[in-house]
Symmetry: C2
Subunit: 199 residues, 2 copies
């Protein structure tokens, strides 16, 4: 490959990433429907025509981001599963990672976009399918059940526990985007939802 082409590829990759980052900002703040291509272009500091040079449509940008976000959070869950320790310890580690990721504000955008994708009818069906395929609840519930068997997690419907857990995580992410400096809870406090009392 001639040197010219290599340079072009680098430019292409850089621009692509630049657009995705800008899009994450805009989508997170305004939602899929209200986000305008011109907003994204302005945020990225380039013309709106160029956006279409790199992505087929607004939908394609959104879809790309959702996939990325989904992979990210699945990664954390998988890693938690493979760690040493009791189920509760794995959950604790996972919670620390998520709180850290939300608190730092780095990946909270992707988090928010996932929530939008799963809650708004305004997003395309294909995207929703992507999310159903890899549902955090399904992957995390077994961990809860294991913890219950070992007696370190309270006896309650495991699905209910998992849903509650993610509701809290999602709620925190939503809060964070709106109130940048809002205090994040100690991960231990969250884990206390699960832990048996008085033992």
């Amino acid at each position: 490959m001639p040197r010219q082409d290599e340079q072009n590829k680098q430019i292409r990759d850089a621009r692509s990433e630049q657009i995705l980052q800008a899009a994450a900002q805009v989508f997170a703040r305004r939602g899929m429907a209200a986000a305008k291509i011109s907003d994204i272009a302005k945020e990225a500091g380039l013309s709106h025509g160029l956006v279409y040079h790199y992505f087929k449509s607004k939908e394609e940008i959104f879809t790309t981001l959702v996939k990325k976000a989904s992979e990210n959070s699945m990664d954390i869950i998988q890693q938690a599963n493979q760690r040493e320790g009791t189920p509760l310890q794995k959950l604790q580690w996972m919670t620390e990672q998520m709180i850290e990721s939300i608190g730092s504000g780095e990946e909270v955008l992707l988090f928010l976009i996932m929530i939008q994708a799963s809650t708004s009818d305004a997003v395309p069906e294909e995207v929703k399918e992507t999310l159903k395929m890899s549902s955090p609840v399904e992957v995390t519930a077994p961990l809860i059940i294991a913890g219950q068997r070992e007696g370190e997690i309270i006896q309650a419907d495991p699905i209910q526990l998992t849903v509650t857990y993610y509701a809290l995580i999602q709620g925190l992410a939503i809060n964070k985007i709106q109130w940048q400096e809002c205090p994040m809870p100690d991960p231990m406090m969250i884990i206390n939802i699960f832990r048996k009392r008085g033992e």
Copy 2:
């Protein structure tokens, strides 16, 4: 007032309410920006022209709903404050009300709209002001502090505790809209975030 006018007023009020209910459905599912007047009209079973006979604009409908929602949730908090019992008992009663309201699916729509209103840049500034005026966090934090003084609530930043509490409530509401049959947690489980352990 002639009888004719009275009847007309009744019709007007009924239609107005009908439109607001339909709008709540559509806004909750699609968000302020993505919601189309034609969607609302269809949901309410009348022409889109008639919607404009009753409301000046889409924004006015949204604003009306947000105010209504804000008053609703403030009501619950105020009522909780005026009840007999310890701060923790008040919190527990409040939590029961909220879980009940979310679980029954009746007022969850208004709840969701409040969340959208506070998190999306797509909503008008006036609406956001309304919400800042009557922030649940500000009203609830004193209750938490009182509970800490009485020693029934764990020692941690009260703002942080309050934020976490509402994050969970909001997260549950969001979940509910997307997954109608999702199991709601026992209010006691939520209160356990606050309660001191081993006492």
